[in-house]
């Protein structure tokens, strides 16, 4: 019975709720998907945002939030994580596999410190792009960590090809596209009604949608500049440090009236916005944008996407001419041209939207992510067993080689 259930321990910075981000969304969808579709037992070792150690079961996932002592470059540090990782193996029901999520420097260091003898998989969400100085110091540890785990999962083949950490280890990299609750995003009647209301409020004008945090790599400024030569309303949903600059930029373009800034929306309202929009734009300008999940969310709603051809999973998520259009990052003129092309051609927009929806509903579902992840776990368990047998073989051979040193204590 319970002895046969697969046991997985996730390791990540935080868990949603309350902490939301792209990685947290994936961790949660994967965890809950493993429970729903594979009857797995899932624990998550994460950081608490405060000083206490808190355990809470969220939708069947046992979430252990370790007390956070400090935060370095927005990466939380829980001193107890290496111990917690070792302790995992001493539990009455130890995990069959540990699934880490990177980038999370303290998580990776903790794994190296604890070196738990357990099959391990890392879901490599993205490279560290911005904190170059941190990376320089951290690089050797990251390399050792990637060598230590049994398998590496990336969300797109582009990620493996273009990451200087993954490319040399392509042999142990596996691609598992993210899964989303795409059915929900494809629109319930209530969501469709709400979408019609939103469209009506824009009086028949085209709607260009942006969804994301207002941070440097998202390139929202490029989009705002491009909109100067696009006859459509721009709706930006999100929050972030750059919001004021973006508002000022829109005003300077004389587009304050046709630019709306909305705070984070709940799931249904966001789904309605995806439905209501004519096009979603993901104008990201840096490799920190590893995949751009919002693209798949828009696709699920039948909305095509204009995004940038970054050397990451972004163009994989939104192939040019199939589910939308791609333009060079940071090029406002090219972006405006692509938007105008799409908005001016109802037939093209409808075709890309249809194709986008079909692709999202077939390739980016949670059951599919779970199925492929399970295959990776199975392989990791096998590799781990093989590696262990090999090192045992070496250990058995070792005493003879170092026989002369025996007795020296």
């Amino acid at each position: 019975m319970s002895a046969l259930r697969l046991r997985v321990t996730m390791v990540n910075k935080y868990y949603w709720p309350p902490h939301i981000g792209g990685i947290e969304a994936v961790v949660r969808h994967l965890s809950e998907g493993l429970i729903e579709h594979a009857d797995a037992q899932v624990r998550a070792l994460v950081c608490n945002e405060g000083r206490e150690r808190v355990t809470q079961t969220i939708a069947g996932v046992d979430v252990v939030r370790l007390s956070r002592q400090l935060s370095l470059s927005s990466a939380p540090v829980a001193v107890s994580l290496p111990f917690a990782l070792s302790d995992e193996l001493c539990r009455p029901a130890p995990p069959d596999v540990v699934n880490l999520h990177s980038p999370y420097p303290w998580g990776e260091l903790s794994f190296l410190l604890a070196r738990p003898d357990v099959p391990s998989v890392v879901l490599y969400h993205s490279d560290i792009v911005r904190q170059q100085r941190l990376l320089a110091a951290y690089r050797p540890f990251l390399e050792r960590f990637l060598d230590a785990v049994d398998l590496i999962v990336a969300s797109s083949p582009d990620m493996v090809r273009n990451s200087k950490f993954l490319a040399p280890r392509a042999e142990k990299c596996r691609v598992v596209p993210f899964g989303l609750p795409v059915e929900r995003l494809s629109g319930t009647p209530a969501v469709r009604r709400r979408a019609a209301e939103l469209r009506a409020a824009h009086g028949g004008r085209h709607i260009v949608l942006f969804v994301g945090r207002f941070v440097y790599y998202k390139g929202a400024d490029v989009l705002v500049r491009a909109m100067a030569s696009v006859d459509a309303d721009l709706v930006l949903i999100g929050r972030g440090a750059l919001e004021r600059e973006l508002r000022e930029l829109a005003a300077a373009q004389g587009r304050a009236a046709s630019t709306a800034f909305l705070d984070r929306q709940d799931d249904d309202e966001l789904a309605a916005w995806y439905q209501a929009a004519d096009v979603l734009c993901l104008p990201s300008v840096a490799r920190s944008e590893a995949f751009g999940l919002v693209q798949i969310e828009a696709h699920a709603a039948g909305t095509p996407v204009v995004s940038t051809d970054l050397p990451t999973g972004v163009p994989y998520a939104n192939p040019d001419g199939v589910t939308g259009l791609t333009v060079p990052p940071g090029d406002a003129a090219a972006l405006a041209a692509a938007l105008n092309r799409l908005l001016g051609d109802d037939e093209l927009r409808a075709r890309l939207g249809r194709q986008a929806q079909a692709r999202a509903l077939s390739s980016f579902t949670i059951p599919r992510m779970v199925e492929r992840t399970l295959a990776v776990y199975a392989e990791a368990i096998e590799r781990h067993a093989r590696r262990r047998a090999q090192s045992r073989g070496r250990a058995a051979a070792a005493p003879r080689e170092t026989g002369g040193k025996r007795g020296r204590v």
Partner: protein, 383 residues
């Protein structure tokens, strides 16, 4: 029962494990009931992996915190800030130390303080505690009494002990522990440990091996029982500090092949289900779960007449009561049931009916929820 307002309740527990004690099993059930009733439930407890997980799965947010006696002052200060931060309506202690903590946490604030008392105060004397220690605890207990809004006693005997110690009768509510009959039946269907003797009839005790549980009396009774019932075998389920002493005693009495020591068995239901008579030889008790579990599985119980046991076991109806520390009487009672299996079966069946009416989890939870409702109504009336 009326609707409970949406409110936050903080439970405090310091049982370090391993595993869950009887009080913790009840606490997890209570948490599940509170969550189902719409309360926002937090549990502050010491490191105890199993309790943390069980409580978390029951729906509580579980906060691990060091609450050892030497840290009482720091722990109390922290708990006070936590209770304030969480905007808790109620803070509830679940034992002596956590009751003291909850009082300090709730002192001078609008948070209501509930103290659950699971044991008779003098229980510690049987486990090597001193009379002086008991008096000190009693004095500390008295000093913080004004901060307590309600006491819960797990049995009338515990309530009487509290009242005798000076707590006003009106402040104490008796809420019996409860067991989940269906869950126990399911658990009993699991295979018993391989070390279980195959011979019948079988009598047994399930207890932590501490002096207060009176297992020595059980061992001596088994020696007596061998005279009239040479065919009877027995099991001791549990572990604890007294294990060595007890096994030495059994060896001295030449009981090696009459008593099987099974160690900790979790869940114990498969063992209980296989026993012809379940024995509770305790020297002091609040309201133990073992006889309730035995009765839920329709087993007759022979128990000592201490603490809450007479409230559970009705003499001659669901089992037999004997005086504590009297192994001869214990052996006679067990022997009487072994000689009359029909009567033993009837007592067991009556025990099941009694558990189903008096000692269910639903009843226990309803008792607490009614208490919380009363307390919250009272404060709303004031405000």
């Amino acid at each position: 029962m009326g609707e409970l307002p949406a409110a936050t309740i903080v439970f405090v527990n310091n049982f370090p494990g391993p595993g869950l004690g009887g009080g913790e099993v009840q606490l997890v059930q209570l948490i599940r009931g509170c969550v189902a009733a719409g309360l926002d439930v937090r549990l502050v407890c010491v490191a105890n992996d199993e309790l943390e997980l069980e409580a978390s799965r029951a729906g509580a947010v579980v906060v691990r915190r060091r609450l050892e006696p030497v840290r009482l002052v720091a722990a109390a200060r922290w708990l006070r800030s936590y209770v304030t931060r969480s905007n808790a309506a109620i803070v509830q202690g679940t034992g002596y130390a956590t009751n003291m903590l909850s009082r300090r946490a709730g002192r001078g604030s609008s948070t209501l303080v509930v103290n659950a008392v699971h044991v008779e105060p003098e229980a510690s004397l049987h486990d090597g505690g001193s009379r002086l220690g008991l008096r000190v605890r009693g004095a500390v207990d008295c000093a913080g009494r004004d901060d307590v809004d309600a006491y819960v006693a797990v049995s009338v005997a515990v309530r009487d002990a509290l009242v005798a110690g000076g707590v006003p009768t009106g402040d104490v509510t008796v809420i019996y522990n409860g067991v989940d009959v269906d869950a126990l039946r399911d658990a009993a269907a699991e295979p018993a440990p391989a070390s279980m003797p195959r011979e019948r009839p079988l009598v047994g005790v399930v207890a932590r091996l501490e002096p207060v549980k009176g297992v020595a009396q059980f061992v001596r009774a088994i020696a007596e029982l061998a005279v009239d019932h040479p065919e009877a075998r027995s099991v001791v389920v549990g572990s604890g500090p007294q294990e060595r002493t007890l096994r030495d005693l059994a060896a001295e009495l030449r009981l090696e092949d009459r008593i099987a020591w099974l160690g900790t068995v979790s869940p114990a239901a498969p063992v209980l289900d296989a026993l012809d008579v379940v024995v509770m030889p305790s020297l002091s008790e609040g309201l133990p779960l073992v006889p309730l579990e035995a009765m839920a599985l329709a087993r007759p119980v022979v128990a000592t007449e201490v603490g809450g046991l007479p409230e559970v076991v009705v003499d001659g109806e669901t089992g037999l009561l004997v005086a504590p520390r009297d192994h001869m009487a214990l052996a006679r009672a067990v022997g009487a049931l072994l000689s009359d299996p029909a009567r033993a079966r009837a007592l067991g069946e009556a025990g099941l009916r009694r558990v189903e009416t008096e000692f269910t989890v639903e009843r226990m939870v309803a008792g607490y929820l009614a208490l919380y409702e009363r307390l919250l109504d009272r404060t709303e009336g004031v405000a």
